[in-house]
């Protein structure tokens, strides 16, 4: 019975063996910010930092890949311009496929191209790309392990005034539950570009999640990026704060604001699957408390993934901060962040409450 249980556990998620040394990129307890990350100058200055939507970076990445590799094909579903597939389409019209308003077909055609040896990038809004075509993704891409890269725009409440139909807050949940999927949620436009470039030589299905709204670009061309390797952006000892997407930026700001009272370890968990178990468990062992922040439903998102991992490997209190199992509403991204607690102030408040409760 016990060996059967072990077998089941081993087949589940195939976690890398844990060696609990210090994470490679962390500078240790004394350093507040790891300079290995080459952040943009004065990156914590929100007023003056360059702001750009992640979808722009993803679009640039696809256009770069098109120039490098003849087998890259980009497919769009009537949102080529707003999801930035048109950067590629303008340069490589012969390898650009416009399927119209038909996300299931987008997936099926991408699958056929991948079966035949091409590297297709299927691009549209997250709600339709992942939500509308989920079963075709499961059957025609995930099950046969086809290397199709799904690149979204318009993920999360950051989508803004289009309202809940377009604010996709379940996409991470329904991609990470599919065997073999790699799920990446970049922290800014530059990282979105790098994620797209990094996805080309990978195997199997990949999802790269991008937002519509302009958000701070705090990483630079020199900032390293490796799929599956969480980034300890700031070392700390009191609590581990994990984010993906633009919320990583709020966490860095909160860490700076609270630095005299609380030592926050900030992790950019850009790859939600496969999880970097070693980095996460190492940090949880050090701080004993984990706070996850994301623009996604708290059910099934990155916070869930972290909680699942730590429940098995090193149980500590985990708080999942995000969209609390509701459909939101129309409004500007900024207004929505404020109302639903996803801005810097809301995040800080909820983090402090969590710390009061676990002490």
């Amino acid at each position: 019975m016990q060996s059967r249980l072990r077998q089941l556990c081993e087949s589940y998620e195939e976690l890398p063996k844990l060696s609990l040394g210090a994470p490679k990129l962390s500078l240790g307890r004394t350093a507040k910010v790891s300079m290995n990350y080459y952040f943009s100058k004065n990156y914590l200055d929100e007023k003056n930092i360059q702001q750009e939507p992640m979808r722009n970076g993803a679009g640039l990445g696809m256009a770069e890949l098109g120039a490098q590799h003849k087998d890259v094909v980009v497919l769009a579903a009537d949102t080529a311009e707003s999801s930035r597939a048109h950067y590629f389409a303008e340069k490589f019209p012969e390898r650009f496929i416009q399927v119209g308003v038909a996300e299931q077909n987008l997936t099926g055609v991408a699958s056929g191209l991948a079966y035949d040896g091409k590297v297709p990038y299927a691009v549209t809004y997250a709600a339709f790309l992942i939500g509308r075509a989920w079963e075709p993704i499961r059957t025609t891409v995930a099950y046969p392990e086809n290397h199709v890269v799904f690149v979204s725009s318009h993920a999360g409440l950051a989508t803004g005034p289009d309202g809940p139909t377009h604010q996709m807050t379940e996409d991470i949940a329904i991609t990470r539950c599919l065997p073999g999927f790699t799920v990446i949620a970049p922290c800014d436009a530059e990282q979105a570009r790098k994620a797209v470039l990094a996805s080309y030589p990978m195997k199997g299905p990949v999802y790269i999640r991008n937002c519509r709204e302009k958000t701070p670009v705090f990483t630079t061309k020199k900032t390293p990026f490796e799929v599956g390797k969480a980034q300890v952006l700031r070392s700390g000892t009191d609590v581990t704060a994990i984010g993906h997407g633009y919320m990583v930026y709020w966490l860095l700001q909160v860490a700076e604001e609270l630095k005299d009272k609380i030592s926050l370890e900030v992790i950019n968990l850009h790859t939600v699957k496969p999880l970097d178990a070693q980095t996460l468990v190492t940090s949880a062992k050090k701080t004993g408390k984990v706070f996850c922040a994301e623009d996604h439903n708290i059910i099934g998102g990155m916070g869930s993934a972290v909680a699942e991992l730590l429940a098995e490997k090193f149980p500590v209190p985990v708080f999942r901060h995000g969209v609390r199992d509701v459909f939101a509403e129309s409004g500007s991204a900024k207004e929505l962040w404020g109302k639903y607690g996803l801005d810097k102030e809301g995040t800080k408040k909820i983090l402090l409450e969590f710390l009061r409760n676990v002490k």
């Binding site: 496929i97 099926g108 059957t139």
Partner: protein
């Protein structure tokens, strides 16, 4: 592939039908009517029409055969075994644990099936992807997509039908298994499909109606598509579900069930008698 004569193809189709009955009896679950109805077309494809090489299933110039309605895969497995893709003895493992012959075809277990399929309405989109890929490469092979009539109730099929026409996928041929039945009954009761040929013409396809149980007509139709250069081709094959086994023919109740030992014996007796 050896160039079979019409008579040899007819004989092969009968053998394939017998092996389908044996495989279904052994499996104890699966679909009977569809595989029997499509036996003539699969025989013509694997033993005459397709460019393929069972010894090199991934040969790059092969024709791609995409089976969208994966539930009729017994006829494909039997045809493939007869063509030499794997030993006939493996047919006994269909739907059993540790077999590469999954209940619905699995690309990872048997790459020669080209795609995993089962959920309906998805094959034509994938075939479009294969056809686009071939066009980008200037490749000369043909993409064949076999679909069912029932899966034309799926919107995704029509999304793909529009795309094939838009991109002038003249290297794509679809064969619809128009057997008029689906699980719950007769297609025209469940959700009418007619006028199917007119719909495809309106979607920009070259439509041919075919008697799929006349081997001469099957071969001449399938070999003739090469000459159609303007549009993607849609062959509507007016199949008889359960063809060759009188008590199964045209009865929708045989869509998703298999014969018991006695029924299998009767079916084999009838097929042997017709050989």
């Amino acid at each position: 592939m050896q160039n079979y004569t019409i008579q040899e193809l007819e004989k092969k189709a009968n053998e394939i039908r017998q092996d389908i009955i044996k495989l279904l009896l052994e499996a104890g679950s699966g679909h009977s009517a569809g595989p029997l109805g499509m036996a003539d077309i699969f025989t013509a494809l694997y033993f005459r029409v397709l460019k393929h090489n069972p010894e090199k299933p991934k040969w790059k110039d092969r024709d791609r055969l995409i089976l969208s309605n994966g539930h009729i895969v017994p006829v494909r497995y039997v045809a493939m075994a007869h063509a030499g893709y794997f030993p006939k003895s493996e047919l006994k493992t269909f739907r059993k644990i540790n077999s590469k012959l999954e209940g619905h075809p699995s690309y990872k277990k048997l790459p020669a099936v080209e795609t995993s399929s089962g959920p309906l309405g998805e094959g034509l989109s994938q075939a479009c992807g294969f056809a686009l890929s071939a066009k980008m490469d200037g490749a000369k092979h043909r993409v064949w997509c076999l679909t069912s009539d029932g899966e034309h109730q799926e919107g995704m099929t029509w999304e793909a039908a529009m795309l094939a026409s838009k991109y002038r996928l003249t290297n794509l041929t679809q064969i619809i298994d128009r057997n008029n039945i689906q699980i719950d009954g007769v297609t025209e009761d469940i959700m009418p499909l007619e006028p199917l040929a007119e719909k495809y013409r309106a979607f920009g396809w070259h439509v041919i109606e075919m008697n799929p149980h006349d081997m001469e007509e099957v071969v001449s139709t399938l070999e003739g598509v090469e000459g159609i250069q303007e549009k993607p081709v849609c062959i509507i094959a007016n199949t008889i579900p359960g063809k060759g086994v009188s008590f199964m023919e045209n009865d929708y109740k045989w869509h998703g069930v298999t014969p018991n030992a006695e029924q299998a014996k009767a079916a084999l007796r009838e097929l042997r008698g017709a050989a």
